[in-house]
C-alpha cells in the first residue's frame, strides 16, 4: 500500500514542471559548487605543498651560520587542506594557512583566503555544504508542503481512505515517494564527490577519508530526511496548503538563518574571545615575568648561572665545558613556550565553550548539528586548525631547541662566531602536519551526531501519531 502511494507520488513529481525548474537550479548549483570547490582546493593545495617544500629546501640549504642565527632565520609551517575540504570549506577560508617559525616568538597563522580574496567571500561561498544545508531543505519544503493538504483540498484523501488505505499508510507512502525523489537528486552528487575524492587522493589512497565521505553523505541524507518527514507532518497538521507553506518557511528561516546567527552572537557574548591585540599583550606581560634569553643582567639569569656553575663545580662561566648563552636562551624559550601554550589553551577553552553552546542548541536545531558534523568530517573545522597551530608550535620549539642544544654542547660561552653547516640543518626533518584521527573527530562531535539521530527519531515519532480528521 505504502509503495503504491510512494510510486504515484514519484510519478506525479517527475511530471511536475515546477519540480524540474527547481531540480535543474539545484543541480546546477550542486555541480558548480562541487567542481569550483574542487578546483579551488586543488589550486590551494598545490600552492601550499609547493610552499611547504620550498620552506624545507630553504632550511636545508641555508649557508653556514651560528645555530642561534639559524633559529632566528627559522622556517615556515604550511597547513595542507584536507581532501574533503572542497565539500565544506568550514572555517578554512578565515583561518591562516601558514605560520612563521622563529626563536623566542610564537606567531599566529596568517594569510587566510579571506584576507587575500576580493569582496566575493563576504557574500558567502557557494559550497556543496551550503547547498545541501540551506537550499535543499527549501526545495524539500516546496516539494512537500502540500503533500497532504492538497489531497484534503481536492477531497482525494477521502477517496484514498474509502479505498481502504489508512492515514498512516498514506503519510508513510508520501514520505517514501518524496525521499525517493530527493535521493534521485542527491545520489549523483554523492557519486561526483566520491570520484573527486578519489582524484584528490592522487597516489595516497585512504580508507579513512573514504569512510569519512560515506559518513558525511549519510549524515546529509539523515538531515534531508528530517526535512521531508517534518514537511509531510506539517502538511498533515495544517488546515490549508497556504498555512503549511507559510509555517514551513518560518521554520526554515529560523532553523537555517536566525537561530545560527543568534547562537553565534549569544555564545560570543557569554564566552568572549580576547582581541588578537589583547591576547598578544597578555602573553608579552607574562613573558616579561620570566627569564630573558638574551639579557645576562637579568635577575633570573643570575640565579640560573649560579645553578649551572654549581652543577659543573666551576667558578665562572668561562670555565664551563658548555655554552651558557645557549642554556640561558633555551630556558627563555621554554618559558615563553609555556606561557604561550597556557594562553593558547585558554583561548581554545573559550572557543570550545562557545562551540558547546552551538552543539547544545544543535539538539533543538538539526541545521547546527549538520553544520558541525559536516565541518568536522571534512576536516575544515576550527579544532583542526587549532590542532595545526599546536603542531606548528611544537615543531618550532623542536627547531629552536635543536639549535640551542647544539650550540650548548659544541661551543663556549660568548663564542658568537661559532658556525655550523648542513649536517646540523639536516637533523631537523621537514614539518609534516598530521590530521586529528577519525576516532577523535567522532568522539568530539558525538552530540551533533546524536542530535541528527534524535531528529530522525522525533520526526518519525511525530508522523506515527498522525490520524485522519475531517
Amino acid at each position: 500500500m505504502q509503495n503504491i502511494i510512494a510510486k504515484k507520488e514519484f510519478t506525479q513529481t517527475l511530471r511536475d514542471k515546477r519540480f524540474w525548474v527547481m531540480a535543474i537550479l539545484v543541480w546546477g548549483l550542486l555541480l558548480t559548487a562541487s567542481v569550483v570547490g574542487f578546483m579551488n582546493y586543488r589550486k590551494i593545495q598545490a600552492e601550499r605543498s609547493n610552499a611547504s617544500k620550498s620552506a624545507a629546501d630553504l632550511w636545508q640549504n641555508q649557508k653556514d651560520k651560528n645555530p642561534h642565527s639559524a633559529a632566528h632565520y627559522g622556517s615556515f609551517a604550511y597547513r595542507p587542506k584536507s581532501p574533503l575540504s572542497f565539500v565544506d570549506f568550514g572555517t578554512d577560508s578565515f583561518t591562516g594557512m601558514s605560520v612563521r617559525l622563529e626563536a623566542h616568538k610564537q606567531n599566529d597563522a596568517v594569510f587566510s583566503v579571506a584576507q587575500e580574496s576580493s569582496s566575493l567571500l563576504r557574500f558567502g561561498e557557494l559550497t556543496l555544504a551550503f547547498v545541501m544545508q540551506v537550499l535543499m531543505p527549501l526545495l524539500i519544503i516546496f516539494l512537500c508542503f502540500n503533500a497532504i493538504t492538497q489531497e484534503k483540498e481536492s477531497k482525494t484523501l477521502q477517496i484514498l481512505l474509502s479505498q481502504g488505505a489508512s492515514m498512516q499508510q498514506i503519510v508513510w507512502g508520501k514520505i517514501k515517494g518524496f525521499s525517493g525523489v530527493i535521493a534521485c537528486l542527491v545520489l549523483p552528487i554523492i557519486l561526483i564527490v566520491s570520484v573527486l575524492l578519489l582524484i584528490s587522493f592522487d597516489s595516497s589512497f585512504s580508507w579513512t577519508w573514504l569512510t569519512r565521505t560515506g559518513l558525511l553523505m549519510l549524515s546529509y541524507l539523515a538531515y534531508l530526511l528530517v526535512f521531508v518527514v517534518l514537511a509531510v507532518w506539517v502538511s498533515a497538521k495544517a488546515t490549508s496548503s497556504r498555512v503549511a507553506l507559510l509555517s514551513l518557511l518560518v521554520v526554515w528561516i529560523f532553523a537555517c538563518i536566525i537561530i545560527p546567527k543568534a547562537t553565534v552572537n549569544v555564545a560570543s557574548n557569554i564566552f568572549p574571545v580576547p582581541t588578537s591585540f589583547a591576547f598578544n599583550k597578555a602573553i608579552q606581560d607574562d613573558e616579561a615575568k620570566g627569564i630573558d634569553g638574551h639579557d645576562p643582567e637579568d635577575e633570573r639569569a643570575k640565579i640560573l648561572e649560579k645553578q649551572i656553575l654549581a652543577q659543573y663545580e666551576v667558578d665562572s662561566v668561562s670555565q664551563l665545558p658548555v655554552n651558557f648563552d645557549a642554556i640561558q636562551m633555551q630556558e627563555g624559550e621554554k618559558y615563553t613556550s609555556m606561557v604561550y601554550s597556557k594562553h593558547f589553551k585558554d583561548l581554545q577553552k573559550t572557543y570550545n565553550s562557545q562551540n558547546k553552546i552551538s552543539e547544545i542548541v544543535g539538539l533543538l536545531n538539526p541545521f547546527l548539528a549538520i553544520r558541525q558534523v559536516s565541518m568536522a568530517l571534512s576536516g575544515s573545522d576550527y579544532v583542526t586548525h587549532a590542532n595545526f597551530q599546536e603542531q606548528a608550535e611544537k615543531y618550532r620549539f623542536r627547531l629552536v631547541e635543536l639549535m640551542n642544544n647544539y650550540m650548548r654542547d659544541h661551543s663556549k660561552t660568548g663564542d658568537w662566531e661559532f658556525k655550523v653547516n648542513k649536517n646540523v640543518w639536516s637533523q631537523l626533518p621537514a614539518f609534516q602536519y598530521t590530521e586529528p584521527s577519525f576516532g577523535s573527530v567522532l568522539s568530539r562531535n558525538w552530540l551533533s551526531f546524536l542530535s541528527l539521530g534524535f531528529w530522525v527519531m522525533l520526526s518519525f515519532w511525530a508522523v506515527s501519531k498522525i490520524k485522519f480528521s475531517l
Binding site: I5, T11, R15, K155, T156, Q158, I159, S162, G164, S166
Partner: protein, 231 residues
C-alpha cells in the same frame, strides 16, 4: 446493506444528526434531500467512518463501521461532490492507482473497459486529467467504484455541476448498478433527478430524517411541494 440505527452525531451542543434509522437493501437507491447543513454529508461521513457517532450504530454489510472501519471499506465506494483526482495522471493511471489501493490488479485493457462502461470516451483514457471536464472526472470516479465491485455506493451530490446529458448518463449507470445488487445512498439537491433514479427518497431537516417517500408513488411536482413544506 447499509444500516443506521438510532445514529446520532453531536458537535458540542449542536446536533448534526439526530437518531437516524435507515436501512438500504441491496439493489436499492436511496436519495437524501435537504438543505445545506441538514445532515446529509454527516450521514455519509458516518458511513465512511470519517467521523465517530455520538450515539447509535452504523453498519455496512452487517459489519460495524466504528469497530471495523477498514473491513467495511471493502464493500463500499465513495464519490465526493467534486471529483478532482490527480491532474497530471491519465484517466487509466488514476483508475489504476485507486483500484490498486483497494487491492485489485487490472490490466490496462480491463481498466479501459471500466472507463468505457462509465461512459468516458476512449480517446480520453490516456489523456491527463487536467484536460478533463467535470463530467469526465465524475466518470472516472464512477469507474473507480465499478472497478472496486462495491456492494454499496455512497454519493455526495454527484450530479451538481453536471450538464443534463452527463447527469442523465450518470442516472443510467446508477440504475444499472442497482440492478446488479448495489445499494446506493446519494445526497442531492436535485429533486427531479432524485425522483427519476431513486427508489426511496428521504427529506432531512436540522439533523432529522423527517419524511421518507416511495419515488414511484409521487410526482416531481408533489415531491417539490413536500420538500418545500418540510424544509
Amino acid at each position: 446493506m447499509l444500516t443506521a440505527k438510532n445514529l446520532t452525531k453531536k458537535y458540542g451542543e449542536q446536533t448534526a444528526l439526530n437518531a437516524l434509522n435507515l436501512t438500504i437493501k441491496e439493489g436499492e437507491i436511496f436519495a437524501l434531500l435537504g438543505q445545506n447543513g441538514a445532515g446529509k454529508t454527516t450521514t455519509i461521513n458516518l458511513f465512511l467512518g470519517f467521523i465517530e457517532p455520538t450515539n447509535g450504530t452504523v453498519t455496512i454489510n452487517d459489519i460495524s463501521v466504528v469497530e471495523n472501519a477498514l473491513e467495511t471499506k471493502k464493500y463500499v465506494a465513495y464519490i465526493p461532490e467534486t471529483v478532482m483526482l490527480y491532474p497530471n495522471l491519465t484517466g487509466i493511471e488514476n483508475l489504476q492507482f485507486f483500484s490498486s489501493l483497494a487491492g485489485f490488479k487490472y490490466s490496462d485493457e480491463q481498466l479501459s473497459d471500466f472507463l468505457s462502461k462509465s461512459g468516458l470516451q476512449k480517446n480520453a483514457h490516456t489523456q491527463y486529467l487536467e484536460g478533463y471536464s467535470k463530467g469526465m472526472r465524475q466518470k472516472v470516479g464512477i469507474a473507480i467504484a465499478l472497478a472496486k465491485n462495491a456492494k454499496a455506493l455512497l454519493l455526495d451530490e454527484p450530479t451538481s455541476g453536471l450538464d443534463p446529458k452527463a447527469s442523465n448518463e450518470f442516472s443510467e449507470i446508477l440504475r444499472d448498478l442497482a440492478k446488479n445488487g448495489t445499494a446506493v445512498l446519494m445526497a442531492t439537491h436535485d429533486i427531479f433527478r432524485a425522483r427519476e433514479v431513486a427508489h426511496r427518497i428521504g427529506i432531512m431537516k436540522e439533523g432529522n430524517l423527517v419524511s421518507v417517500v416511495d419515488a414511484a408513488s409521487i410526482s416531481a411536482n408533489e415531491l417539490e411541494k413536500l420538500y418545500l413544506q418540510t424544509v
